[in-house]
Amino acid sequence: MNQNQQQQASDGRHDDDAALSDFLASLMDYTPTIPDELVEHYLAKSGFQCPDVRLIRLVAVATQKFVSEVASDALQQCKARQAAVVKDKRDKQQKDKRLILTMEDLSRSLREYGVNVKHQDYFADSPSTGVDPASRDE
């Protein structure tokens, strides 16, 4: 993919086109986590129509990238929070070692992407998957 930059630097329009079509062709071999049918369904709902599978894949890849970016940001938040908790309080919070996607971290990471989600303070989430209340309080 460094090729792309080089090509852009040399700004050959033909090369850009070739890179793009190469990329699209490579999408045929790539299987995104978000299935094509799902993407197709939602795209069709928003009025988008295109018979090309590669474009569907493109959207799927873009979405996957977006989600994984959000998730990795949330993961960083989670790790930072856990580190802070460990530093402040006692170290024997083994349970907190588990990396859990919480609403708190998610809303923080989503804020950077222009989505403002508030963490519901008094929303009782399923306790099996949730964090323990001590860490949620803070």
């Binding site: 993919m1 928003s46 989600v117």
Partner: protein, 379 residues
């Protein structure tokens, strides 16, 4: 992904649940799985349910936003079908919040946009995690089988005014008889009435039984005494009522409404009785109905004397089965109805007293037991 954009999109999404669930829940479930898989690949071990819901919701919005912006750009260019440039432009729009390198402008082609490069980079770096399930094509769109038009089946429309491209009429046999709906409604009505009757019948017989029990309790002994006044009242209340008829009619419950027995009386026996029935009609019908009416009004126990008599009389005559019913009928036939009925009943009662001593004793025992029952009931 600006707030304004989502505000707009919230509009069409709101009425979705009442309209039809369609594949929406199904799709949501799969989005959750996909998002969970991505999160897992990022290193998360678990998640809060609400967080997963939110993230999958945002994911769906993202996909739809891409589709919408691509669609808008395609329309702006005068096309109905989107192409890759529309999508890239849409991605650039959505990526405005974070900013990206190499945005397309006059000097740079859209194909060399930074978003595409980032995407290509992502594809190259990230390992493939195929979706956990195999997904069927959805939502399933059923092929609607249309009725063939006149043109398709090669038929002439029956009227000049019907264009040939309209769907053909069904077979005439399916709609020619327009009286069928009427029949059906009447049938329904009949069925309803029948049902009502079925419902009323047991109630009525139960009512009669109760009344009979009540009257028997009160007046049993007086009948045994053979009082003249009692006999007179009995005669007044139409001696024909039950005796011969209930003998033959077995399917009717033992306690029957007087009117009913009289009607069947008419049908089974000859003319004289019909005549009699005609003369005595007023009284008998009234008396026949008073029990029900009275019972409705004043409860079962304290009812008027007259109808008590009726009930009382109907019951013992059922048990009177020594073939005297026929005789009785015979004497009835030659006697002029209105005047002699009284005597006839009197004689009948007399016979009852003389001959059926045994029977009476049995009856008494029965009545006593019934009375006991009534007392228990009162308690």
């Amino acid at each position: 992904m600006s707030d304004g954009g989502r505000e707009i999109e919230r509009g069409p999404e709101k009425p979705a649940p009442p309209r039809k669930p369609g594949g929406e829940e199904f799709a949501r479930a799969f989005v959750k799985v996909a998002v969970a898989q991505i999160c897992e690949s990022e290193g998360f071990q678990s998640f809060q349910q609400s967080a997963l819901e939110t993230l999958s919701d945002v994911t769906v919005r993202y996909i739809r936003d891409i589709g919408k912006t691509a669609h808008v750009y395609a329309n702006q260019a005068g096309r109905t079908e989107s192409n890759v440039f529309d999508i890239i432009q849409g991605l650039e729009d959505l990526g405005l919040a974070q900013g990206f390198l190499g945005a397309s402008d006059i000097e740079h082609c859209l194909a060399s946009s930074g978003t595409v490069r980032e995407l290509a980079q992502y594809v190259g770096e990230s390992q493939q995690i195929p979706f956990a399930y195999s997904l069927p094509q959805f939502p399933v769109v059923k092929d609607r089988k249309l009725t063939p038009s006149f043109l398709q089946i090669g038929e002439e429309p029956p009227g000049e005014h019907i264009p040939a491209w309209l769907p053909a009429f069904p077979d005439p046999g399916t709609y020619a008889q327009s009286s069928t709906p009427n029949d059906r409604t009447t049938e329904l009505k009949m069925a309803k009435i029948e049902q009502e009757n079925q419902r009323i019948k047991p109630e009525r017989s139960l009512l009669n039984l109760n009344q009979w029990l009540a009257s028997n309790e009160l007046e049993g002994p007086s009948v045994d005494a053979g009082d003249a006044t009692k006999a007179k009242q009995a005669a007044e209340s139409n001696p024909f009522l039950a005796a011969p008829l209930q003998y033959g009619e077995k399917e009717v419950s033992p306690v029957v409404l007087p009117v009913k027995t009289k009607l069947s009386n008419d049908t089974t026996t000859g003319n004289p009785i019909v005549k009699y029935h005609g003369m005595d009609n007023h009284v008998s019908v009234l008396e026949a109905f008073t029990p029900n009416i009275e019972a409705m009004k004043s409860g079962l126990r304290d009812s008027e004397e007259g109808h008590k008599k009726v009930l009382l009389k109907t019951r013992p005559t059922v048990q009177f089965k020594l073939g005297s019913g026929k005789k009785y009928l015979g004497s009835m036939l030659d006697s002029s109805p209105q005047n002699k009925s009284f005597q006839v009943t009197e004689s009948w009662f007399g016979r009852l007293n003389e001959k059926d001593d045994k029977k009476r004793r049995a009856e008494q025992i029965l009545k006593e037991s019934v009375g006991n029952l009534q007392e228990l009931d009162h308690l």
